[in-house]
Structures are given as structure tokens and as C-alpha cells.
């Protein structure tokens, strides 16, 4: 078991190192423009050189990479080119906002999806099962910005229940105005809910058709017991891996949803950094999002191993 943990964690570290190299190499192509972007119209060859000197852009790439990586390890994400603020400070509140939004969607979406999935599997081919199948297919097929806009039209324009944008006063938390979270969280939840529900349903149906479930039924166990003590726990194993893959999907969805609802989170900051060619900020955010994804994968692996002793042997 200990060995399993060590192998997994060191693999994550290697992955993160690779991710940092890819992020750095990709954004390297953009960094020539940073000096350009700061100077704008009034640039000359001399003050371009001066700015590059000042930002340290004239050093060789590997030196800058190691410098950057060293900073990241010590918790210093660098300085935003645009407003010369420390990125760690800039990211802090945005990260909290994004976590609130994603956490809200996740906490409601995942249990609901699992519950509906089990229900649909038990009532296979009933009207409600078909209804959920169709809605989940539609939810998967709609990009987040379409779902978001439809929700805005229905719940904000027509019914006037929730605000259409989620602007937050700087310094205050989204938790103080929970009503602004509802539509973005619902949008984020759509795809998540649909995938997990479809997967749970398929797995529970598969488990219900196995021999051990038949044995359990034939030896006189109540249906409730067969379902919740035998079929569902086994069906949950593959569902867990779907849930983690969905976290990656959700991180991407966060970028879109925050843009649709003008929600001040990491995703919107990422888009702003792309528009401003703010390379250090873009690097930091890309690394942060990729690390969040890698960590969620690790958590999934570990919980999978905790639930399934067979995994630990390999």
C-alpha cells in the first residue's frame, strides 16, 4: 500500500514537471510580444530592448524556465506584466471564487446524478428513464455557453428569478450573495450531471444482470438490500473514474461559464491574461489549472484503491 502511494505521488510530480515545461514552452512563443504589448503604439527598437532587459526577457529560455520554476516551488508565481501586481495575490481571491462555484456544482451535481442514475437503472425503460436519457443526451450535446444562455433567457429574462450576471464586489465573497451562484452552477452541472448519470445507469444495469446479484436475490434478500449492498457499491467503482475525468471537463467548463456570467474566477482571469498577452499570469494560471486536474486524478486513484483492494496489488 505504501509503495502504491509513493509510486502514484512521484508519478504526479513527474507529470507536473512535464506540464510546467509544456506551459513554459508554449507561452514562450508569446513572450516576445509582452514587451510589445506594454509599449503599444509608441515602441521603438531601443525602448523595446530596454523593456525586455527590465523584464529579464533577454536571458536564454532555460535560465528563465529554471528561474520561474524555482519561484513557483517557493510559492512565488511571479509578477503580472499588465499591472505589476504579484500573481499570488491576484490569484488568491479568484481561486477561492472558482472553488466556491465548482464546489457548489460538484456537491449538488454528483450525488444527484448518482441518485438519478440508480433510479433510471432500476426503472429501466420506464417513461422517467427515457426522459432522463433524452435530457442527458441533450445536456451532453450543448456547449456550456449555450446552456448558460438558455438558462439566462428562461430564468433571468422571462421569470426574473436570478441575476443574469454574477459580478461580485472586489473583496466580498460569492457566498454572501448565493443567488448569483445558482445559474452558473446549474450550467456547470449540466454536462457533469449528464455524464455521471449515464455512466451510473449503465453500470448499475450491468451489475443487476450478474450472477452474484441473482444469487443474492434467490437466497431471499430484499430488493433494497440487493440493490444497495451488492449492486450499487460495485457499480460505483467505474463511476468514480468518470467523476474524475469530469473534473477536468469541469475545469474547462469553468472558463466558459465564468465568461458567460462575468463571474470573477480563475477562468476569466485566464481569458484576460490571453487577451492582454500577460505571459507570466497565463503561465501561472495554466499551471494552476493543470495541477488541480492532476491532483484530482490522484485523489480519484487513491479513493479507487481504497475501495478496491485488487488495484493495490498491481
Amino acid at each position: 500500500m505504501a509503495q502504491f502511494f509513493i509510486v502514484r505521488i512521484s508519478l504526479i510530480l513527474v507529470t507536473l514537471l512535464f506540464v510546467s515545461i509544456v506551459v513554459f514552452a508554449m507561452t514562450e512563443v508569446l513572450s516576445g510580444d509582452a514587451a510589445d504589448a506594454i509599449l503599444g503604439q509608441g515602441r521603438t527598437e531601443e525602448n523595446l530592448q530596454a523593456i525586455r532587459e527590465q523584464l529579464g526577457l533577454n536571458r536564454p529560455a532555460h535560465v528563465r524556465y529554471l528561474d520561474w520554476l524555482g519561484g513557483v516551488v517557493r510559492g512565488d508565481l511571479g509578477t503580472s506584466l499588465r499591472d505589476q501586481q504579484s500573481i499570488s495575490g491576484l490569484v488568491g481571491s479568484r481561486l477561492a471564487n472558482s472553488l466556491v462555484l465548482a464546489g457548489f456544482a460538484f456537491m449538488i451535481g454528483v450525488p444527484a446524478a448518482v441518485a438519478v442514475g440508480i433510479f433510471a437503472a432500476v426503472k429501466q425503460n420506464s417513461f422517467l428513464d427515457r426522459f432522463f436519457s433524452v435530457t442527458s443526451l441533450v445536456a451532453i450535446s450543448l456547449p456550456e455557453f449555450v446552456t448558460g444562455i438558455v438558462l439566462i433567457i428562461v430564468f433571468s429574462s422571462w421569470l426574473d428569478l436570478f441575476p443574469s450576471s454574477s459580478l461580485i464586489q472586489p473583496g466580498s465573497s460569492p457566498l454572501e450573495q448565493p443567488d448569483i451562484l445558482v445559474l452558473p452552477a446549474a450550467t456547470l452541472m449540466g454536462v457533469l450531471f449528464a455524464y455521471i448519470m449515464r455512466m451510473t445507469r449503465a453500470n448499475v444495469i450491468e451489475e443487476l444482470n450478474t450472477d452474484y446479484v441473482r444469487t443474492a436475490t434467490l437466497k431471499g434478500l430484499s430488493y433494497r438490500r440487493v440493490l444497495f449492498r451488492h449492486a450499487v457499491p460495485n457499480a460505483m467503482l467505474p463511476t468514480i473514474s468518470v467523476i474524475t475525468i469530469n473534473i477536468g471537463w469541469m475545469l474547462g467548463g469553468l472558463i466558459i461559464v465564468e465568461s458567460v456570467f462575468a463571474y470573477p474566477g480563475l477562468g476569466r482571469l485566464l481569458l484576460t491574461s490571453i487577451q492582454n498577452r500577460d505571459v507570466p499570469l497565463l503561465q501561472a494560471l495554466a499551471l494552476l489549472l493543470a495541477s488541480a486536474y492532476a491532483l484530482s486524478n490522484l485523489i480519484a486513484d487513491l479513493s479507487y484503491a481504497a475501495l478496491n483492494p485488487r488495484v493495490r496489488l498491481t
Binding site: T15, M26, T27, V146, S241, G248, W249, L251, G252
Partner: protein, 320 residues
């Protein structure tokens, strides 16, 4: 062979006839015809296939039926709802939405299809070759693929799309260039994901007897990879292709929405939705017109993917 799978209906299963005399295009056409026949036996396929067909027709001949040029301004008719003159209403410059949606169909479909093809061809080659080869090579290749997959798809797409804009290909015209970037982005995001799926299919197939006997015959590696393993991954590849295509459209539309897609004045469904957002309260049809276009197209493709899965009895796919 692809046709050995059971069909859901009780109708007789088409029998795969060993056909080595016809030229390969004839055989390929027959294989496609068989797949379509199989697909039409599933309820999902019966709805999905016509939906896709409608979109393909719109993309090819739709622009000819556009009532106005898609870039023509009608400044006295800005942001109007549907009317007899403008069947689906107009945008903030008074451009006819019907004409813009019709002319925008071909670019998103073409970019997604070409991007998916690149991703599928390269990803499949890497995946099957790596799985067949095994050992250290396989280990290293798959670690690299894993590393690329540790980026959430949209984040990787944003990075690649932003980066691609910085390059300048003097050979390509500006308008073609921006489309090539989207194609490149889709392909880069797809390669590791396709490679992983096809590798696991190849790992199963390479243990089968016909591969062993080909190896004993002394066939070269490329022959086994492309002539023995590849044809037998057809059902997996078919499902993967349809799933990829639906993601490609979502990805292209999302990039467009975020302003990294085709640049104005070319009509782009994703960008149209992005631009419509500021008028959403007063003018919801502006957003809904391109939204319905994207939605019906992706629903059609997903239904076909479901139908193919059902026809070949493959398990439910997890999103990547």
C-alpha cells in the same frame, strides 16, 4: 470483422463475405453501406443520421439559398425579431441572421471534420503502433500522451489556439490561416486521447490468432499494424470518430465563443453567440438561432455515436 456484431432486431444479420477480388474503394463503400444499414436499425441512428444529413445539406447548398449576402448591413433594421423580410431576425449591424447561420455552417463542420481526421489518423497510428510494439517504447509514448492529457481539453485548446496565432505562415492566406489554426488545435487536443483508446483496442487484438500467424509468416511490423490490426479496430474507430467529431464541434464553437475562432466578418456560430450575449435580455432570438444550429448538429452526432455503440455492443464511453 465489423459485421459479425449482433444486430438488435431479429432480422437476419448481414453476413460478412470474404471479398478479396474487388478494388479497395468498392470494399470500403460496401463497408460504409453495411454500417449505415446497421445504424438505421437502432432508434438513435434513425434520428441522428437524418439530423447530420440535414446539416451537411445546409452546409453545402445552404449559402445559395441565403436571402441576403451574409455581410450586408441593414442599419435601419438592427436587432429585429423574425419578420417577413428577415425570417430569423437581424443582428446588431442589421445583418440577416438566417443568411449568417446558413453561411456559417460549412466552416464549423469543415474545421471540425478535418481537425478530427488529423487527430484520428495520427492518434490511431501512434496508439496501434505503440500498443503493438509494447515494452519500453510503449511505456515512453504513453507517458508523453498522459502528460498531454493532464491538461483539461479546453485549457490545452486555448493555449494552442493562442500560440498558433503568433505564428505567421506566409504560404497561407489570412482567412485560410485562421481556420488552419482551429484545425491544428483540434488535432493536438485529440491525438493523445485517440491514441489511448486505440492502444487498448490494439492490445486486445494483437493477442488474437490471426495476428500471431501473421507474425509467424514473417510479415513486417507495418503490415501487421496496418493490414491486420487496423481493420479489426473498425468498430472502436467508428465510435471514436463520431465521439471525436461531436467534441470537435463543441471545441470549435467554444473557441469561437471566446473570440479565438474565425475572425469577423466571416460568420462563426460560436462567435455569433458570444456577440449576441450583450443583447440577450432584449433580443433572445439572436442567441438562439446559432445555438439551435450547434445543438442539433451535436445531438445528431451523439445519437449516431450511441447508435454505433448499440449496433456493435460496445460499452458506454467516458468523456475525455
Amino acid at each position: 470483422m465489423a459485421t459479425v456484431a449482433r444486430t438488435p432486431d431479429s432480422a437476419p444479420t448481414p453476413v460478412a463475405i470474404e471479398d478479396r477480388t474487388s478494388a479497395w474503394p468498392v470494399r470500403a463503400a460496401r463497408a460504409v453501406a453495411r454500417e449505415i444499414a446497421l445504424l438505421l436499425r437502432t432508434p438513435s441512428g434513425r434520428i441522428g443520421l437524418p439530423l447530420i444529413l440535414i446539416h451537411v445539406i445546409i452546409a453545402t447548398i445552404g449559402p445559395m439559398f441565403a436571402p441576403y449576402p451574409h455581410t450586408e448591413f441593414h442599419l435601419e433594421h438592427r436587432l429585429e425579431g423574425p419578420s417577413a423580410d428577415f425570417l430569423l431576425g437581424t443582428d446588431q449591424f442589421g445583418r440577416d441572421l438566417l443568411s449568417r447561420v446558413l453561411s456559417g455552417a460549412s466552416s464549423i463542420i469543415a474545421m471540425s471534420v478535418i481537425g478530427s481526421i488529423f487527430g484520428l489518423v495520427i492518434g490511431t497510428s501512434i496508439g496501434i503502433a505503440s500498443g503493438y510494439k509494447g515494452g519500453m517504447v510503449d511505456e515512453i509514448v504513453m507517458r508523453i500522451m498522459d502528460a498531454f492529457m493532464s491538461f483539461p481539453a479546453l485549457l490545452l485548446a486555448l493555449l494552442v489556439a493562442t500560440m498558433a496565432r503568433e505564428w505567421d505562415f506566409p504560404v497561407l492566406s489570412a482567412q485560410f490561416e485562421e481556420k488552419a489554426f482551429i484545425v491544428l488545435t483540434i488535432a493536438v487536443v485529440f491525438i493523445p486521447r485517440v491514441a489511448r483508446v486505440l492502444r487498448s483496442a490494439a492490445l486486445q487484438i494483437k493477442e488474437l490468432e490471426f495476428v500471431q500467424s501473421a507474425r509467424l509468416r514473417g510479415e513486417p511490423g507495418w503490415y501487421i499494424v496496418f493490414r491486420e490490426i487496423l481493420p479489426n479496430t473498425a468498430p472502436v474507430l467508428g465510435v471514436e470518430a463520431s465521439v471525436r467529431l461531436s467534441y470537435a464541434i463543441l471545441l470549435a464553437a467554444s473557441l469561437g465563443f471566446l473570440g479565438l475562432g474565425v475572425q469577423p466578418p466571416s460568420p462563426d456560430w460560436g462567435r455569433m453567440i458570444g456577440e449576441s450575449q450583450q443583447f440577450i435580455v432584449t433580443h433572445p432570438t439572436y442567441a438562439l438561432v446559432p445555438a439551435v444550429g450547434i445543438a442539433t448538429l451535436v445531438i445528431g452526432i451523439n445519437l449516431v455515436a450511441d447508435g454505433l455503440r448499440e449496433a456493435h455492443e460496445l460499452p458506454q464511453e467516458t468523456p475525455q
